[in-house]
Amino acid sequence: MLVMKNINKTFQTGNIQTHALNNFNLTVNEGDFVSVTGPSGSGKTTFLNIAGLLETYTNGEFTLDGKDVGQLNDNGRSRMRNEKIGFVFQGFNLIPDLNLFDNVDVPLRYRGFDAKERRRRIEENLERVGLASRMKHLPSQLSGGQQQRVAIARALATEPRFLLADEPTGNLDSQMAQGVMTLLEEINQQGTTIIMVTHDLELAMRAIRTIQVRDGRVSELDVVAEKASA
């Protein structure tokens, strides 16, 4: 469970203060699929970065699976990211010098799994996204949709509790975007909590919950009723 209470995030540039998040409150339950929408500069990416422990917050309370994130040092945050959070980015963010196998291997290395376990997880997750036969290919040899699938396989390899996706379909054509979205839905149905930032309202509506961020705070909760109950 992810709980944010009165989270503020202020950026200081010279004498100018920018309030990226302003008393931001949100609770994401186990198994949720939450889409986050909002205009550019509204603070949704800042929220995702803080949720993914990639950025610190200025004040407020943030607990992830019951742990107070504010108390963690760099090592603790890294460990929590590795164990509990998977990321999918708009730009795929694969390491171009490494083949698919080695790309998926990266978070597993930091977890400290042995070689056998790493291989099992890599093969299983590449199989899951339909790219097991291309393990030795470099990212540049794949299409955008395929690269995003590799990124998803990498995110899932550590079996995270939360999958954070920042515009996961932003660089894909509509057909590929549909494919990725379907994959995310499958993953969610298998129990992984997903928080997805998107500009695409049509895709946002496919989530169980949609929230809108405006001026650094959640302006409207549960726009769409729980899909599961529909």
Binding site: E55, D74, N75, S78, R79, N82
Partner: protein, 436 residues
């Protein structure tokens, strides 16, 4: 993880091979220049006989002109007169003693097929071999009796034995030297102390001699001396007069086992000089000295000042090369900021990433060290070519120097890599991930 980081370093180095090559080249040049000068200094300042250098003493007595001191009064003369050397030898007050001088001779081989040859010779006492741990292949040193009896005996070095006797055991064989028939009593193995401490007056880095004969044969005119001779007053006519003169041309070494032995020997020297003063000699204030091997090398300034300056300058050059490497590493690692941000997102802590990139810097340093060894090898050949014989025994890289080159290169590059790595690890992952 170490092997994983090594693999990532290899991938990264090959991927950015141009930049990596520049860094390796910069480090290689710096290490090459540094190791060239460090090697020369190391060999110049090495202790050539470490296990007994504190028991071997070079003897100096100030027999010089009362009105015009030797070495501007800073040091007594660097050699002894024949009179003093032979008197000290006769006294036999040390555990071992050796009087010596450089000489030369013509060997006429028995085999008419082999042409006569001029050889460098050392005229020395029997104790020379035991004092300086000279290794023998065949036979032994001659006896003290042979010294006293002025016997015509010779010890050959390995190369001379090869030339004249084809390398066989020649002990007991006869050999004609300067028209006299000598008996071979021993053949020594290759022996080249660096520096050649036992006679600095004729070159601290010259090769050891081809043959060794009893010192007393010089007085018998059966061996011709060839070392440095310094005189401060006329010698008179004839060789007898020269031997009795105040000219200095002999070197005198003693082996003393304890500090007490040293004190006793110094007292003996002082008493000897007091005695000689009664004969009108030693008019200068008493300044008798016993120097250990390392002290003697220091006094004689075996490590030249210009070699030290060159070494300092080469280290400064290495620093410049490393500063260039810092810049190049900074460019390379900051170029990897998106990957660093991503790795952080995937669970790498800053310390983990720091370790990963420091290993990459270390790999570049290791490769630079290997290239530096190659440059140092050629640098030493260049120095040997430039300075000729003086440097011929110094222009070699031994295992210690090779290990030092790699170690300096590795650790210097790691130090150079600290700042770029630290900067790279400071990137804000969220910024990098969004900008990809």
């Amino acid at each position: 993880m170490f092997n994983y980081y090594l693999r990532l370093a290899r991938i990264s180095i090959l991927k950015h091979w141009g930049l990596s090559l520049l860094m390796i080249l910069a480090i290689g040049l710096g290490i090459g220049a540094t190791m060239t000068t460090v090697t020369v200094n190391y060999l110049m300042s090495a202790n050539p006989i470490p296990h007994k250098s504190e028991q071997l003493y070079y003897v100096q007595l100030d027999s010089w002109d009362v009105n015009d001191p030797f070495d501007e009064g800073q040091n007594p003369p660097d050699q002894l007169t024949y009179t003093d050397s032979t008197n000290l030898m006769k006294a036999k007050k040390a555990f071992r003693q050796n009087v010596q001088a450089q000489a030369y001779a013509v060997i006429e081989p028995n085999d008419p097929e082999i042409l006569p040859m001029i050889v460098n010779a050392r005229a020395n006492s029997a104790d020379f071999f035991a004092m300086f741990d000279v290794p023998f292949i065949y036979g032994n040193a001659w006896s003290n009796q042979a010294d006293d009896n002025k016997e015509l005996v010779v010890v050959l070095n390995k190369e001379t034995n090869e030339k004249i006797f084809g390398g066989k055991n020649s002990v007991g064989e006869s050999i004609r030297i300067d028209g006299n028939v000598f008996q071979v009593v021993g053949v020594i193995d290759h022996w080249q102390p660096k520096p050649r401490f036992y006679d600095i007056s004729t070159g601290a880095f010259n090769e050891t001699e081809d043959i060794f004969v009893p010192f007393n044969l010089i007085a018998e005119e059966k061996m011709r001396m060839s070392g440095n001779t310094n005189c401060w007053k006329p010698t008179g006519d004839g060789f007898e007069a020269f031997l009795a003169s105040e000219c200095i041309w002999t070197q005198f070494w003693v082996e003393l086992k304890t500090e007490q032995d040293k004190d006793d020997y110094l007292n003996f020297l002082n008493a000897y000089v007091e005695e000689q003063k009664q004969y009108g000699r030693f008019l200068r204030p008493m300044d008798n000295r016993l120097s250990t091997v390392t002290q003697w090398l220091e006094v004689q300034e075996v490590v030249a000042d210009d070699a030290r300056i060159m070494m300092t300058m080469s280290f400064m050059f290495l620093i410049v090369c490393l500063l260039n490497t810092v810049g190049l590493l900074l460019a390379k690692f900051l170029g990897k900021a998106p990957e660093i941000g991503l790795r952080q997102a995937l669970g790498a802590s800053k310390s983990t990433l720091f370790f990963q990139y420091i290993i990459e810097a270390g790999c570049i340093g290791f490769a630079g060290g290997l290239l530096g060894l190659f440059f140092a090898f050629w640098g030493l050949i260049g120095i040997e070519t430039l300075y000729g014989d003086y440097m011929q025994n110094l222009a070699t890289l031994d295992l210690n120097m090779m290990a030092l080159a790699i170690a300096i290169s590795f650790f210097a590059t790691i130090i150079a890599g600290i700042y770029p790595t630290w900067r790279a690890c400071k990137v804000q992952p969220s910024h990098q991930l969004k900008s990809q």
